[in-house]
C-alpha cells in the first residue's frame, strides 16, 4: 500500500498542476466587427447581432454596433433586408427562401465600411432521432446523448445547441414571512424554482468518416450528481443544425483554440475569423461565420423515477443550523436576509435559516414555471 501511495504521488505530479497566469495585456486597440447569428430558412425569425471586439482585460459589456444596414442576398438575385429592433440586434421576419439558392450576408456599418460573407447553401437538418441518457456510475455523471441520421446522406456535419430547464427545491420550506414587522403566511411560495441554462460550449459532430450518415451517441452534456439538476425534473431541449464542411471546420477550430488549448498535444492557437471579410478595407478583420439552414429540435424531459434505481443527486442541505429567535426578535428581521422555516411554542419562537437555504431564487432560478414544463 505504501508504494501505491508513493506511486500516486508521482502520478499526481506528472498529471501536472494548473495555476492562474496573468500576463500583461497585449490586446490590440482595434475594434473589429463581430457578426453573430444564423439565417433561419425554416420559417422562423432570424436574429443577427453586430458587436465589436474589445481588449482582453476590458470587462465592460461589449460594444454593440448600431445603425448598420444588413441584407442577405442570394446568387439568383433575391434580397432580404434586416431591421434593427434594438441597438446591435437586427431581425429578418420569417419568409420563404428559394431552395437551391446560395446566400450571403452583406453589411454596411455606420462608418461606411462594407462587409460580405462567402456564399453558403441553406442546409436542411434532418430530424433528431432521439435523445437518451446514460449514467456513468464511477464518475457520478449522467450523460445525455443525441442520435440522428440522414437517410439521404447529405447532412454529414452537425451542430447542436442545448437548453437545460430544470426544477429544483430549497433545503427548507418556508411557509411564513415577515411583512411590516408582522409574521404572516407566505403569499408567494419560494420553495420550488425553474431555471434554464444554455451551455455555451460548441457541440459539433460529423459522420464524414462513416459509411452511413448517422450520428450515434454524441454526448451533449454530462451532469454531475452534485449539481442536483436532475433531482426533481429536468428537461433538455436540443436544437440541431446541419453545417457545411467549412462551417464545421470553423466551429471545430474555434472550439479548439478557445476551449481546449494548452494541453501537451493540443494545437497551438491561431487567428480564426470565419467567412466574413471587410470588402472596403481588406486589412480590417471581421469575426463570424455566416450559415443558413433550418433548425430541428427535440425535447427530453426526465424525472428521477425514470432512471431505474440511479439516484441523481443528494437531497439539498443547509450548511448552517437553524437559528432560534424570539417573537420580538423575529419581527425585526427582514425577509430578504432570512427565512422562517418553523415555529416553536411556549414561548413562541421562530426558526430561521439564511435565505439561500429556503428561497430557491437565491440559486438563480425563477418562480415562474414555464408553461410547457
Amino acid at each position: 500500500m505504501k508504494y501505491w501511495g508513493l506511486f500516486f504521488g508521482i502520478l499526481l505530479v506528472v498529471s501536472g498542476c494548473i495555476d492562474p497566469f496573468k500576463p500583461a495585456d497585449t490586446s490590440l486597440s482595434n475594434r473589429y466587427l463581430v457578426v453573430s447569428g444564423f439565417l433561419n430558412t425554416g420559417g422562423d425569425t432570424t436574429v443577427i447581432t453586430l458587436s465589436r471586439t474589445q481588449p482582453v482585460n476590458d470587462n465592460t459589456p461589449s460594444l454593440v454596433e448600431s445603425g448598420a444596414s444588413i441584407q442577405v442576398g442570394g446568387d439568383r438575385g433575391t434580397v432580404h433586408v434586416f431591421q434593427e429592433i434594438r441597438p446591435g440586434t437586427y431581425i429578418l421576419t420569417p419568409r420563404r427562401f428559394v431552395g437551391e439558392e446560395n446566400l450571403r450576408i452583406q453589411i454596411r456599418t455606420r462608418d461606411g465600411k462594407t462587409y460580405v460573407s462567402d456564399y453558403v447553401p441553406a442546409r436542411q437538418s434532418p430530424a433528431i432521432d432521439s435523445v437518451t441518457w446514460q449514467p456513468d456510475r464511477p464518475n457520478n455523471l449522467m450523460r445525455f446523448l443525441v442520435h440522428t441520421h440522414d437517410p439521404s446522406n447529405n447532412s454529414r456535419f452537425y451542430r447542436w445547441k442545448i437548453e437545460e430547464t430544470y426544477q429544483y427545491q430549497s433545503a427548507y420550506y418556508s411557509g411564513l414571512e415577515v411583512v411590516k414587522q408582522e409574521i404572516v403566511p407566505r403569499v408567494v411560495d419560494v420553495y420550488s424554482c425553474w431555471r434554464t441554462d444554455r451551455p455555451t460550449n460548441i457541440l459539433i459532430g460529423t459522420s464524414a468518416k462513416l459509411s452511413e450518415d448517422r450520428i450515434q451517441s454524441f454526448p451533449l452534456v454530462a451532469i454531475h450528481n452534485s449539481s442536483n439538476k436532475l433531482l426533481v425534473k429536468y428537461s433538455l431541449l436540443v436544437k440541431q443544425y446541419t453545417l457545411t464542411q467549412a462551417a464545421y471546420e470553423y466551429w471545430d477550430m474555434l472550439a479548439r483554440t478557445s476551449e481546449t488549448t494548452g494541453g501537451l498535444f493540443d494545437p497551438q492557437p491561431s487567428l480564426i475569423t470565419g467567412n466574413i471579410r471587410c470588402e472596403s478595407h481588406p486589412e480590417e478583420l471581421a469575426f463570424g461565420f455566416f450559415s443558413a439552414g433550418t433548425e430541428r429540435s427535440f425535447r427530453l424531459t426526465v424525472r428521477p423515477i425514470d432512471f431505474n434505481g440511479w439516484f441523481p443527486g443528494t437531497y439539498p442541505r443547509c450548511s448552517v443550523e437553524p437559528d432560534t429567535l424570539s417573537l420580538e426578535e423575529s419581527v425585526l428581521t427582514s425577509d430578504n436576509g432570512r427565512k422562517i422555516i418553523g415555529m416553536l411554542d411556549m414561548p413562541t419562537r421562530y426558526l430561521f435559516v439564511p435565505s439561500n437555504c429556503a428561497d430557491c431564487r437565491s440559486l438563480g432560478g425563477s418562480l415562474n414555471k414555464p408553461s410547457w414544463f
Binding site: I10, E259, S270
Partner: protein, 921 residues
C-alpha cells in the same frame, strides 16, 4: 630480475673489452674517463672490489660517463656521475649497489622495528609521485621492451609505422577513441571505431602512452625498427564500475579538426539526475549548449534553431523515428547498453546527412567476450536487465537487454476506479551480437524493439512501436585502408483505437519503413592525410494513414491515404589535410539525390493559384516505380583549424545540408501522432546552410577547457502548418502546410572541468530562431509574412552540470538550468459570439511564458570495491526539481463567466524524489 642481471653480468664478464682509466680499491675511486658506457663502468668497479651492481640495462644504456676523480668514496663518485641522469643508487651493508630510476631503493629497515616494547614509526618513506608509476612497475607488460618490425643491429634514420588494436583486457572489447601518443616529440592519434590505431614515428626507442576513459593509463616501451604491429590491452578502472568518471576528452576539443561536436559517455550521463531516477540519454543531451526542447516532457531536440525532425538519430547506424517512451517522459534507450553519444551540431562529417540540423549518433557497447556478465536496475517505475556473454570465447559475444515499466501493473492494483481503468506501459528489448571473424574483419548485429501503450481514463488507446535492425561489417583492408559496410532497417508505426461507442469504433494507423545500405571507406595514406568516401542509399515506404472500422457494428468508412515511396542516394568524399601541425583543413562534398516514386495519384493544381483543394484540376497517375519527382544537390562540408599554441585553437566551418523527409506537426511538443512526409513535387527538400566559428582554449594543463562557438544558419523550405488545417489523414498535405524560411544565430560558451574531484560543465547560450513564410505575400503567411520566433526560441540558456566525488564510493551531483521562457501566442482581444465570450489570437509567438529554472541533485553510492564478489551494486538517489518551482510548460486562455482567464500548466510542480538500485555481476 636478479637472475636476469646475473646473466647480463656473466655475459659482461666473458666479454673482454678495454676498461676506462678508473681504479677502485673498495673504498675510493681514482682516475678519469671519457664517454664511458655505464656497463663498462660497472665492470671496472666490480672487477677490483667485492661490490656488486644490480641495474636494469634498459635504464642505463644511454648513460655515458665523463669524470675525473681523486680519492672519491664510491657514494660521492656515484652521486657525481648520476647527477645528470634520473638514476638513483643505494648501497647496502653487503656491498650490493642498486641502480634504480627516479627513486633509490631503501636498503635498511627503520630503527627499532624489532624492539617489541618500543612504539616506533615503522613506516618507510617510500613515496612515488603517483600511483601510475607503481602500477607501471607492477605491470610486466609495461616493463617489457617490444621490438617493432624487423630487428636490425643499427636503427636506420627515418620513420616507421606501428599499428594495432587497443582492447579491454577483461572483455576483449575494442577501446574506441583511446589516445595513443608519445610525448617527445608530441605525436599522437586516437583509435578508430574498431579500436585500431596507426602511428607513424621516428624509428628508435619510444614510450607509447595510451589513455582512454574508464581505463587505466597504459604504457609500452617500444623500439621501432620498421613497420610493425603492437596490440595493446588496457585494464579497466574496476573501482569506478564504469560509472563515476567523467569523460576527459583531454585536449581533443582543442586539437581535433571538428567543431560543434559533443561527446557524452555513459559515465557522464549516469551522473546527471533525472525525474524518475533512470539515466536518460536524451535528457543529458538537452543540457549541452545549443540544444533545446519546447518543454519538460518532450524529448524532441531543437539543435541550433532546427526543428525536431531535423535531427538524424542513429542507434548503431539505424535511424530512429521516435526516441521516446510514454509521450516523452522517458527516452527510448536502455542506459545499461549505451556506450556513448556523439552529437554533431554543425560540422557534420560528409558521411552523415539526410537531416538539416544535427546528427545524434548513439552507439552501444559490445557484449562481454570473455565471461558471462549481467547488469540491471530497479527504479520506481521501470526495471531493466542486461545479460551478456561469449558465444565463442574471445570472438563472439551476445548481449540481450530489456527494460519495462511496471506502472501498468501498479495502476491495476489501485482500487480507485478512476485510475484502474487507465493503462500506461512501455518496454524495449535489445539484442546485439558481436563477432570477430579475424583480426581484420568484425561483424555487429543489432536488433531493437520498443513498444508503448497508453490509455488514460478514456476509451482511446494509443500504441506506438519502433523496430530497428542493423548489420555492420568492419573490415581492415590494409593498415591504412578500412571500410565499414552497413545494412539497416527501421520501422515506426502507431495506431489509435477508439471504441467509446460501437458505431464509431475505429482504428487509425500510420507507419514508416526505411531500408538503408551504405559503404564507408577510410584511407590514411600518411599521417597528414585522411580520406573518407562512401555511398549510401535509403528506400522509404510511408503509410501516411489509414482509418478503419473496428468491430462489426462500426459504421466507420474505411479510408486510406495512398502510400508513398522514395529513394534517397548519396555519395561523398572528404579529406582532412594537416598542412602544418598548426593548420589543418577538411573539405568534403556529398551529393545527395532523391526520387519520389510511384505508384501514386498526384493532384494537379491550377496554375498561378495557391495549393488549395478548391483549385485541384485533376489527378495524374504514375505507375509503380515511376519517378514522379527527382531532386539532386551538392552538400558542402568545410572546416579549418588553426592551432597557434598547443592549448589554443581557432576553427571555422561552413556546411550545407539537404533533407528529403519531414515530420508534420501542429502541436507544440513532439506527439506520437505526428506524421512523416517525403518530399514530393510540391514539398521541396529542406535545405540548410551553416557558418560557424569557434575558439577553444585549454587552461591549467588541460584540466579546464573553455570554448566559445558562434553560428549563423539559414534554413529553406521548412514546413509549418497553416492555421487550422488537419494534418492527419490529409490526402493533399501540400494544402495544409506552408513553406517557411528560417534564420538562426547564436553564441555558445562552454566551460568544462574535466578531471579532479569536482568536475562537470557550465554552459551559456544566446540564440535566436526566427521563421517566416517563404512567400510573404501569401494570405496564409503567419504574422503577415514577417519573421516570428519559433516555438523553441529561448534566447538565454544557462546550464550547470556538476559532480563532486567525495570518495570512490560516494559522489554528489547538482544540475542547474535556467532558460528564457518559450514564446506563446497571446490573445489580442475578445468578442462575443452566440452569447459566449471568446478570445482571439493574431500573430504567432509574440509573448513569452515565465522563465524556466530548475535544480536537481543526485547522490550515487557505490557498494564496496572488492574485485571478487557476487555483484557490484550501487544506489542512486535523486531529487528532480529540488526547488519545487512550477515551471510552466504551456499557458492557455479560457473563457470563464465572460472573462478570459489565463492558466499555466506545469508538468513537474514539486520536487520529485526517486531511488534506483543498480547492479552488475
Amino acid at each position: 630480475m636478479r637472475a636476469l642481471l646475473f646473466c647480463i653480468f656473466l655475459l659482461l664478464v666473458f666479454q673482454s673489452r678495454s676498461f676506462g682509466q678508473l681504479t677502485f680499491d673498495g673504498r675510493v675511486v681514482n682516475g678519469s674517463c671519457t664517454d664511458l658506457k655505464f656497463d663498462e663502468l660497472v665492470r671496472t668497479l666490480e672487477a677490483s672490489s667485492d661490490y656488486y651492481f644490480y641495474y636494469n640495462k634498459a635504464d642505463t644504456d644511454s648513460v655515458r660517463i665523463t669524470a675525473q676523480v681523486r680519492n672519491q668514496p664510491l657514494t660521492n663518485f656515484l652521486t657525481e656521475v648520476l647527477r645528470e641522469t634520473d638514476l638513483k643508487f643505494a648501497i647496502d651493508a653487503r656491498h650490493h649497489v642498486f641502480i634504480t630510476k627516479e627513486r633509490p631503493i631503501i636498503t635498511s629497515l627503520p630503527i627499532g622495528v624489532f624492539e617489541v616494547d618500543q612504539d616506533v614509526d615503522t613506516s618507510i618513506s617510500y613515496s612515488f609521485h603517483d600511483r601510475e608509476i607503481t602500477a607501471r612497475l607492477l605491470s610486466t607488460a609495461e616493463n617489457k621492451v617490444y621490438d617493432i618490425g624487423v630487428k636490425t643491429y643499427r636503427i636506420r634514420e627515418g620513420v616507421a609505422t606501428v599499428s594495432g588494436y587497443v582492447r579491454n583486457i577483461v572483455t576483449g572489447e575494442p577501446v574506441v577513441g583511446a589516445a595513443v601518443f608519445i610525448e617527445k616529440p608530441s605525436i599522437g592519434v586516437a583509435t578508430d571505431a574498431l579500436g585500431y590505431y596507426t602511428l607513424t614515428l621516428p624509428r628508435g626507442r619510444h614510450t607509447l602512452n595510451v589513455r582512454s576513459v574508464g581505463m587505466r593509463e597504459g604504457h609500452r616501451q617500444i623500439v621501432l625498427y620498421s613497420n610493425g604491429k603492437l596490440n595493446i590491452e588496457l585494464i579497466e578502472n574496476v573501482v569506478a564500475l564504469k560509472e563515476i568518471q567523467v569523460k576527459s576528452d583531454l585536449d581533443a576539443t582543442v586539437a581535433s579538426n571538428q567543431m560543434g561536436v559533443s561527446k557524452l559517455t555513459i559515465t557522464t550521463m549516469k551522473q546527471v539526475p533525472t525525474a524518475f531516477g533512470e539515466t536518460d540519454a536524451l535528457r543529458v543531451v538537452l543540457t549541452l549548449p545549443g540544444v533545446k526542447s519546447v518543454g519538460e516532457s518532450s524529448t524532441g531536440l531543437n539543435v541550433r534553431g532546427g526543428s525536431t525532425d531535423q535531427n538524424l538519430i542513429l542507434f548503431n547506424d539505424a535511424t530512429v523515428y521516435n526516441p521516446s517512451h510514454l509521450f516523452g517522459f522517458f527516452s527510448a534507450f536502455n542506459p545499461d547498453i549505451l556506450k556513448e553519444i556523439e552529437l554533431y551540431k554543425s560540422d557534420m562529417p560528409a558521411r552523415l546527412g539526410g537531416r538539416l540540423s544535427s546528427v545524434l549518433d548513439i552507439t552501444t557497447r559490445e557484449g562481454n567476450k570473455k565471461k558471462f556478465a549481467g547488469s540491471g536496475g530497479i527504479g520506481l517505475l521501470t526495471g531493466r536487465l542486461t545479460l551478456e556473454g561469449p558465444l565463442i570465447k574471445e570472438r563472439t559475444s551476445l548481449m540481450v537487454s530489456g527494460r519495462s515499466s511496471y506502472s501498468n501493473w501498479l495502476l491495476k492494483q489501485v482500487s480507485d476506479v478512476r485510475y484502474n481503468r487507465s493503462r500506461a506501459s512501455f518496454y524495449d528489448v535489445n539484442v546485439q551480437v558481436n563477432h570477430e571473424i579475424n583480426q581484420r574483419n568484425s561483424l555487429t548485429l543489432t536488433g531493437y524493439l520498443s513498444n508503448d501503450q497508453f490509455k488514460f481514463n478514456s476509451d482511446t488507446v494509443y500504441r506506438y512501436e519502433s523496430q530497428l535492425a542493423a548489420l555492420k561489417w568492419k573490415r581492415i583492408f590494409h593498415p591504412k585502408l578500412f571500410g565499414t559496410f552497413t545494412a539497416s532497417y527501421s520501422r515506426y508505426r502507431y495506431d489509435i483505437q477508439g471504441d467509446q461507442f460501437p458505431e464509431n469504433a475505429y482504428q487509425l494507423k500510420f507507419g514508416i519503413r526505411q531500408y538503408n545500405v551504405k559503404a564507408d571507406l577510410s584511407y590514411l595514406p600518411n599521417i597528414r592525410h585522411t580520406m573518407d568516401m562512401g555511398i549510401s542509399s535509403i528506400l522509404y515506404q510511408v503509410h501516411p494513414g489509414s482509418f478503419f472500422p473496428k468491430g462489426e457494428t462500426s459504421l466507420v468508412m474505411p479510408e486510406e491515404v495512398q502510400p508513398e515511396r522514395g529513394l534517397e542516394t548519396a555519395v561523398y568524399f572528404s579529406e582532412r589535410y594537416d598542412i602544418t601541425p598548426k593548420l589543418a583543413i577538411t573539405g568534403g562534398l556529398r551529393v545527395s539525390m532523391f526520387q519520389y516514386l510511384g505508384p501514386k495519384q498526384v493532384a494537379q493544381y491550377a496554375e498561378n493559384l495557391p495549393f488549395d483543394k478548391q483549385y485541384i484540376t485533376g489527378f495524374r497517375s504514375y505507375g509503380s516505380g515511376a519517378v514522379i519527382q527527382h531532386y539532386m544537390g551538392p552538400e558542402y562540408r568545410f572546416s579549418l583549424r588553426y592551432m597557434p599554441t598547443p592549448t589554443l585553437s581557432v576553427k571555422a566551418g561552413f556546411n550545407t545540408t539537404r533533407q528529403y523527409i519531414q515530420m508534420l506537426s501542429n502541436t507544440a511538443a513532439i506527439s506520437p501522432t505526428d506524421v512523416w512526409k517525403l518530399s514530393d513535387p510540391y514539398l521541396k527538400p529542406q535545405q540548410g546552410t551553416q557558418y560557424s566559428l569557434g575558439v577553444y582554449k585549454n587552461l591549467r594543463a588541460g584540466v579546464i577547457e573553455l570554448s566559445v562557438e558562434g553560428y549563423y544558419k539559414d534554413l529553406k523550405n521548412v514546413l509549418d502548418y497553416k492555421s487550422g488545417d488537419s494534418l492527419i489523414l490529409n490526402k493533399q498535405i501540400e494544402t495544409a502546410v506552408i513553406s517557411t524560411i528560417g534564420q538562426a544565430y547564436g553564441v555558445e560558451v562552454l566551460l568544462k572541468k574535466l578531471r579532479g574531484k569536482l568536475n562537470g560543465w557550465a554552459s551559456y547560450t544566446y540564440s535566436r530562431t526566427l521563421l517566416r513564410a517563404s512567400d510573404p505575400t501569401s494570405p496564409d503567411a503567419p504574422n503577415r509574412g514577417k519573421f516570428y520566433p519559433a516555438n523553441y526560441d529561448k534566447p538565454h540558456d544557462f546550464t550547470l552540470i556538476s559532480n563532486y566525488k567525495v570518495n570512490r564510493r560516494l559522489s554528489f551531483s547538482l544540475n542547474f538550468t535556467y532558460s528564457t521562457g518559450r514564446p506563446y501566442t497571446p490573445p489580442v482581444g475578445k468578442y462575443v459570439m452566440d452569447g459566449v465570450v471568446r478570445p482571439y489570437y493574431a500573430d504567432r509567438n509574440q509573448n513569452r511564458i515565465p522563465d524556466y529554472i530548475r535544480a536537481d541533485v543526485g547522490i550515487n553510492i557505490e557498494g564496496n570495491h572488492r574485485v571478487r564478489k557476487l555483484a557490484h551494486s550501487s544506489w542512486t538517489l535523486s531529487v528532480y526539481n529540488l526547488l519545487g518551482r512550477k515551471n510552466p510548460y504551456s499557458v492557455y486562455f479560457v473563457t470563464e463567466n465572460g472573462k478570459i482567464n489565463g492558466y499555466q500548466l506545469s508538468i513537474f510542480g514539486q520536487p520529485i524524489p526517486s531511488i534506483t538500485y543498480n547492479f552488475k555481476f
